[in-house]
């Protein structure tokens, strides 16, 4: 059946930025899959390549200096990297759409929110201006904003309200996939929960798959079925929520959990991960995590680990499990 099939399949994707300082290897040979209606969390520190991955899928890697240097992005079996500009434009907003990080800057300040929602509807659906506005009003109501506010401008909305508008734009054409790039990072904690709740609700209602980019493991636990942990442009661990949270394998993932405060365990201190994310221009040899890894062995410094399936659907990229 079509509905059970893979929606998005990423194979061996690498995206580099060619700058004067050298080649920034932002995304290196990542693979993952996303089924219809599924939610996957893409977790990592700042600079791990999460946003670049998202932009890669959208076909919005800033070029120059960025370029997809290898791999495949299969959307419903079709390679997006081979699609023409026109084809990509027809996909964007209709089949997959993106929610950007900062709602304060994601909306055009000189257009009314109604116009901005109606714009995407009119691009992908053959509706008159009036009907598009009508539909925009419905969508605005759906994200919890009264339709009367259609004619207002972004500066008349609060941050949380703006993010609702951004979500409305992303969902306006009922896309099959939503890529949400840290949708709640810029919001107050109280608003974060509301926005996530709204996204989850709408996602269920519309049957949309979601790739949720975040550095917040708590958000992932609340929202996702699947998790991929990214480090230095690679996916170091990936699996179902249970696999990754209850049966953590990779030292980096363990480190991430170790640096979270927990109410149930009376730990003495939080254990941060020593050191910093490596410079993507000059990645370490062998395993990119070895300089910070507490379990580093001699072989980690020279040999790069490969993706290993430790249990069905649970992948780790670490020499200890090879």
């Amino acid at each position: 059946m079509e509905t059970t099939k893979k929606l998005l399949e990423i194979k061996d994707l690498s995206i580099h930025y060619f700058t004067e300082e050298g080649v920034v290897r932002a995304v290196n040979n990542i693979d993952f899959e996303l089924m219809r209606g599924e939610t996957m969390g893409l977790v990592g520190e700042t600079g791990a390549g999460k946003t670049t991955t998202a932009r890669g899928i959208m076909g919005l890697v800033p070029n120059p200096p960025g370029r997809v240097v290898g791999g495949e992005i299969l959307f419903e079996g079709k390679d997006l990297l081979k699609a023409s500009n026109l084809e990509m434009r027809l996909h964007r907003g209709k089949d997959f759409s993106m929610i950007f990080q900062d709602p304060m800057t994601s909306l055009n300040p000189i257009l009314t929110v109604g116009d901005q929602i109606a714009e995407v509807i009119r691009l992908h659906e053959k509706l008159s201006r009036k009907d598009a506005n009508l539909k925009a009003a419905q969508i605005l109501e759906m994200v919890g904003i009264p339709a009367e506010r259609m004619s207002e401008y972004p500066h008349q909305f609060s941050g949380g309200m703006k993010q609702r508008v951004v979500i409305a734009i992303a969902l306006a054409c009922s896309p099959k996939l939503i890529i949400a790039d840290e949708p709640t990072t810029a919001l107050d904690v109280t608003i974060q929960a509301q926005v996530l709740e709204l996204m989850r609700e709408l996602q269920e209602k519309l049957g949309t798959a979601m790739l949720l980019i975040t550095h917040d493991l708590g958000v992932v636990a609340d929202t996702c079925n699947k998790v991929a942990i990214m480090y230095a442009g690679q996916i170091v661990e990936m699996g179902s929520l249970e696999d990754v949270y209850d049966n953590t394998m990779h030292p980096y993932t363990k480190g991430l959990f170790g640096s979270l405060p927990s109410l149930s365990m009376k730990s003495k201190r939080l254990v941060p991960i020593d050191g910093l994310m490596p410079d993507p221009v000059d990645l370490p040899t062998g395993c990119p995590f070895h300089p910070r890894c507490p379990d580093c062995k001699e072989s980690c410094k020279s040999r790069a680990p490969v993706k290993t399936e430790v249990s069905p659907g649970h992948y780790v990229r670490c020499l200890r499990y090879e």
């Binding site: 959208m58 919005l60 434009r89 027809l90 996909h91 964007r92 907003g93 209709k94 759409s97 993106m98 950007f100 990080q101 900062d102 800057t105 994601s106 909306l107 055009n108 300040p109 000189i110 257009l111 009314t112 901005q116 714009e119 995407v120 691009l123 992908h124 401008y153 500066h155 008349q156 951004v166 734009i169 992303a170």
Partner: protein, 333 residues
């Protein structure tokens, strides 16, 4: 909005008063005797003295200034010393010429400068961008009268394609417009480029692209409209500048505009004509500034809402007044 416009027009009054005072002061201290100029070098001393008395030139500064301002309030800009015609009549013939040239200059500068600036921003660090930046630098640094002379040398003297001076038909406008607008084109190009560069990095441009919008629409609807405020600002400054710059440029091309009128008037110590011309130009400049400020509000809803905030403030103030009254009433109890 109307309140705002009224306020701005009201504020022009002190500006014009200040300008009139400064100009009057400058003319007062300028050496040279208008009476002598009118009668010529060979005139009798007594005749000159009699004319000075008649023209009121022997009165004190403040007496003359207040007499002038009194006339001005009645809408009388005075009489030209040389032609004996009302100053306004002289200006009203010349002003349209200058305004027309300035209008075409700015139109030309916008039509050329804005698209090149956008192209340069979109293709940042390419050859197109580099060439644009060098040319823009050249345009800004080059004196316009020198460029004008080069153009005349090439197109009028060498090639004989275009007339070099006067203003008798469409072809006479070409060289003045090109030479006067060169600097404006350069400045508008640079502003459009930097403003666009800033805007196209904004998240909402990516939002528009993520909607599947055409790149052309992304650039013109989403980016350009947001980049417009700084561009409008320089366009306004350039328009005002080309009115003031008329003093030099109209000399080069012998254009019978207000700039040439002013220079001739200064040479003849024709005080009323100089003061009148400066005042009219200042008023025009203030109007252009006001027009540009109103355009801001038209383009940007955030500025628009600031203008209408006056009303809200007033409401809030009324509210406070009634609240205070209520409190006072309570106290009395």
């Amino acid at each position: 909005m109307l309140r705002y416009i009224a306020k701005r027009i009201f504020l022009m009054i002190p500006v014009l008063l200040g300008i009139s005072f400064v100009i009057f002061l400058l003319m007062y201290f300028t050496p040279g005797d208008p009476a002598q100029m009118i009668l010529g070098d060979m005139a009798d001393k007594e005749d000159v003295e009699a004319l000075r008395e008649e023209m009121g030139l022997n009165d004190g500064f403040f007496e003359r200034y207040f007499r002038y301002m009194g006339d001005l309030l009645r809408g009388d800009l005075g009489t030209s010393y040389t032609t004996k015609l009302p100053v306004w009549d002289e200006i009203s013939v010349r002003l349209p010429v200058t305004a027309k040239v300035a209008f075409f200059v700015i139109l030309f500068a916008v039509i050329i400068g804005v698209p090149i600036g956008i192209l340069s921003a979109v293709r940042q660090y390419t050859i197109i961008d580099s060439i644009t930046r060098v040319l823009a630098l050249l345009g800004i640094t080059m004196p316009s009268f020198w460029f004008a002379l080069l153009l005349v040398l090439l197109f009028s003297v060498r090639l004989g394609w275009l007339p070099a001076s006067g203003l008798y038909g469409p072809s006479y406008y070409i060289l003045p417009i090109i030479s006067i607008s060169a600097a404006s084109i350069a400045i508008i190009t640079r502003t459009a480029r930097s403003s666009m560069l800033e805007v196209i990095r904004q998240d909402y441009i990516d939002t528009a692209r993520a909607k599947g919008q055409k790149e052309r629409v992304v650039l013109f609807k989403h980016a350009l409209l947001n980049a417009l405020i700084p561009i409008l600002t320089v366009v306004g400054i350039q328009f005002a500048g080309s009115l003031g710059g008329a003093v030099v440029n109209e000399q080069v091309f012998a254009i019978p505009g207000i700039g040439k009128l002013m220079v001739d008037a200064i040479k003849a110590r024709n005080y009323p004509l100089v003061t009148g011309s400066v005042l009219v130009l200042s008023l025009l400049q203030s109007m252009v500034n006001l027009f540009i400020d109103l355009l801001y509000a038209f383009v940007d809803p955030r500025i628009r809402s600031q203008y209408s905030r006056d009303k809200k403030k007033k409401k809030a103030l009324n509210g406070a007044v009634t609240a205070n009254a209520g409190m006072a009433a309570n106290k009395r109890k």
